[in-house]
């Protein structure tokens, strides 16, 4: 039982009623854990939230175009018949499964109360309002009133599976094809399921889903707030910030959906996306126009997501590169390790910037002082490998008059050892089992709405080789075929 997130609510309302007003944007924020806003245990309904649902339902019901939602004419058929048809037809879409008799009776009662003292249309709008505040609408449910009474790990029903697939890939209610397949019991064989998954992954909503995943996993939402020192980077304005954001999204979309999301291309691709503004920002290409186009880049100066200007700029201060932040990012996001903060009383001073001194020299204390080195060797050693990319992500061969030394060192991982430059780091990351497991854990958390537990070991074990031999896209397809995905989850002991 998962309450719809704000995004899922907005999408579902759009698909159900054709209403694009995004009412949930005004709701209380959904709490996040590890960046994800779809974690089941946090998606509670406070009184404030209940009020927001109630008011949104009122507005939506008033604004709904009833003539498009109901073709039954009460002057031809009886009002009761028409109201029942309305409840059944719209209810099936709102609940994402057939409305059961007991539920129909409840809805008709709402209609009748409103019809008393109001007109037919008022009755229908009130019925619609009720639909939009009922748990069967507000939650992704794996049961219906007629489900077998014993909760436990049983295979999902057809409509329940249709829901799971649509909310996984579209972050919305099932589309017409999924409804039709569920009604015809055609979500049964692996081939039937696979063909729907293939279809769903080609939709625009799937692109938005993966964008949501990457933004949350990697914390890319922070790009909205990115600003740089006007003195040092006078050309860094809102337009370039937005362009860097688009570039990053375009790269991730292309890497996942066109290339399949192999770690090799994710980390090491030697192409990027450029328009005229980005070309002049990087000074590495000659793209023209506003539209982003795939552009081949020098392999020495590019490495997939790692050298995108948006990421490099995000992992810098407004003035300078920040090897600590860059190293910490790789540790936490790609290796799923926790780096403790500096203990109280220990100097965590950011070394002063002095003319003629390189960033590596500024950060030398972290390596030379044993108190610092304990933690910083796990971060700075990685971060200094990025020194060829300045605080706005532009390649540099020298810093303050000295040639850049981009040598780095990985420790406490399964890819330990020295490396020089981001490309060498990327190649290491692409072969790391720890990185693959981290990526898998992150996708699992996003799809399942919770952290993987002991009971998920089998599912993860089945997906690990897929991510190794193939890529993220295949892994998602394989995920939708695992026994756990196809079953109602048995609750774990508290």
């Amino acid at each position: 039982m998962r309450r719809l997130t704000r995004r899922e609510y907005n999408n579902t309302i759009e698909d159900l009623l054709g209403d694009t007003s995004r009412p949930a944007d005004a709701f209380d924020p959904d709490p996040t854990a590890a960046g994800f806003d779809n974690q089941v245990s946090l998606l509670t309904v406070s009184t404030s939230r209940a009020r927001q649902y109630f008011l949104a339902a009122e507005r939506l019901a008033q604004a709904a175009k009833l003539e498009q939602l109901s073709s039954c004419l009460p002057n031809v058929s009886s009002e009761q018949t028409c109201a029942e048809q309305f409840a059944q037809k719209l209810g099936q879409r709102a609940f994402r499964r057939p409305v059961e008799d007991a539920e129909l009776a409840i809805l008709i009662k709402v209609f009748a109360v409103a019809r008393q003292g109001g007109d037919y249309e008022t009755g229908l709008r009130q019925l619609l309002k009720a639909l939009l505040v009922m748990p069967a609408f507000l939650y992704r449910l794996d049961v219906s009133p007629s489900s077998s009474a014993e909760p436990g790990p049983s295979r999902l029903g057809q409509y329940q599976l249709a829901n799971r697939l649509s909310y996984t890939f579209l972050q919305s209610m099932p589309d017409d094809e999924l409804f039709a397949a569920a009604a015809a019991q055609e979500l049964t064989t692996p081939e039937q399921i696979a063909s729907h998954v293939t279809r769903l992954t080609q939709s625009q909503r799937a692109r938005l889903m993966s964008q949501d995943f990457y933004e949350r996993w990697l914390g890319l939402g922070e790009l909205n707030k990115l600003s740089k020192s006007a003195a040092l980077f006078p050309a860094f304005d809102d337009e370039i910030r937005a362009a860097l954001q688009s570039e990053l999204q375009e790269f991730l979309q292309h890497s996942l959906w066109t290339e399949g999301g192999a770690l090799a291309s994710f980390f090491s691709a030697s192409y990027g996306f450029r328009n005229s503004r980005l070309s002049s920002h990087y000074g590495d290409s000659a793209a023209s126009g506003d539209a982003l186009t795939l552009t081949m880049l020098s392999p020495e100066r590019s490495a997939g997501i790692l050298t995108t200007g948006g990421l490099m700029a995000l992992l810098s201060t407004p003035e300078h590169t920040d090897p600590v932040r860059r190293g910490k990012f790789i540790r936490e996001r790609f290796l799923c390790q926790v780096v403790p903060p500096p203990p109280p009383g220990v100097s965590a001073a950011f070394p002063e910037f002095e003319p003629g001194v390189t960033t590596r020299q500024r950060f030398a204390t972290h390596q030379n002082d044993p108190v610092c080195a304990g933690c910083h060797s796990v971060m700075d050693g990685i971060g200094l490998g990025f020194e060829n990319f300045d605080a706005v992500g532009v390649y540099r061969a020298s810093e303050n008059g000295s040639p850049v030394d981009a040598s780095g060192q990985l420790v406490s991982s399964d890819i330990d050892g020295p490396f020089v430059g981001v490309r060498a780091l990327a190649e290491k990351l692409a072969t790391s089992q720890m990185v693959r497991d981290c990526m898998l854990a992150s996708w699992f958390r996003f799809v399942a709405g919770r952290e993987a537990g002991e009971g998920d070991a089998g599912t993860l074990a089945a997906l690990r080789p897929v991510l190794l031999s193939a890529a993220q896209r295949s892994m998602l397809e394989a995920l939708s075929q695992t026994p756990a995905y196809l079953s109602r989850r048995q609750e774990e002991a508290p």
Partner: protein, 459 residues
Amino acid sequence: MILLRNRSLSRRTLLRGIGGATLALPWLEIMSARSAHAALPPKRLLTYFFANGVIPEDYECQGTENDFTLSKSLSPLERHKQSMIVTHGIGMSCKGFAHTDATPHILTGMRHPPDAAEHGSFRAAIPTLDQEVAKAVGAGMRYPSLEVGVHSGTDRLSSVSWKSPTEINVPRQDPYALAAETFGVELPAGATLDPERQKRLNKSVLDAVRESSQLLSAKLGREDRARLDAHLQSVNELEALLNTTDAPGGMGFTLEKPNWAMGQKINIDATDNIPLVFEMMMDLVVYALATEQTRVVTFMAGRSFGGFSLPWVDAAGDWHEFSHQAAAGDSGSADKITRIVTWLESQLALLCDKLKAVQEPGGGTLLDNMTVCQMNEFGYDHRHRNLPYLFIGSGQGFFKTGRLLRFQEFSSGPANETSPFPGTWNNNVLVSLANMMGLDINAFGDPNYPSGPVAALQG
């Protein structure tokens, strides 16, 4: 549309032109039904949180209890000096991992379960004090408690308020969305409503929720059933709210909206707009308090770790980083922290101006009838000692204001589990705030720390 009885409020504009040069202050007078009674106005509590501590040299005030000068950091509060109590030396009964330990500790006074420190799991040890107060004084309010924030995020460090050990009250951060609720929906011209019919319609919809939930409940596992039960409890509370025709938070406000709520929307995420968003949030909070939509507010000025950059006081960049650098002896960073703190105190002063501008029926200004308590996760250098607790507003004379109080400091460790630690701690502050709000308690949080209020606050 749910339309309740119009509130009898003046039609004066709340705020003249946010972003304009004049942020004029006296804007709201309440001529509420309350004025018919001679009873005292209700008391309110507001906690104002910001992160990363202060610079003691710039923050600490000189002088005696009744004759003192405000420090550089507190200088923006000069005009509220007689309404406030400055304290030095209160500690936080919290040992360990700096930010993640402190944030859920400030309003619980109790260490969260050790397994909850990592992995982004959301846990507080107990519901926070503001929630206990809300239970006592907030029933039937539109917001039993209201949490707002500016650039606070949505994770477990976004708020100091927890409804239960697992439910964090993520602050509302979109002033436009909040304004739509708080300022109310305007009645269409000439609209009439029949309250009895409205009540019937509401009941039939909510009955449908309850009855359909009943059908599902039996099919759910234990966890899911608990989830659904909690949802239904919220629905019942909502119904009580909708059915109180005198409900605070009725939808029928006819107040003019402030200019910012009507005009072109600003980008609330942009760093440059943070000062404007602060003021918008203050307007909303003051309005909600003045119109009895809530009595308990948490105002998150940022979040644990800071949360935003302040280029307008020449402190662009990472506020949290500055605090570490300052502790390491970098005077430039210490100056940045002081500029940040001074700016945040100027915001607090502005909030108090707005609270003071509300004349309450039954006596006093809104500020007189409440207490604003400033809280921080640290004192200085990520340490949980000598926290910059500040109390503004006497809570109807409960606290004796216009004073500087110094408390003997004690280290918060090592732990001695058998006897209470000497000293004055956030636990005692929590008891004092609860007592001010009329809750008869003598201890809150970790029993290893001394019980009782901070008696000196009452003079």
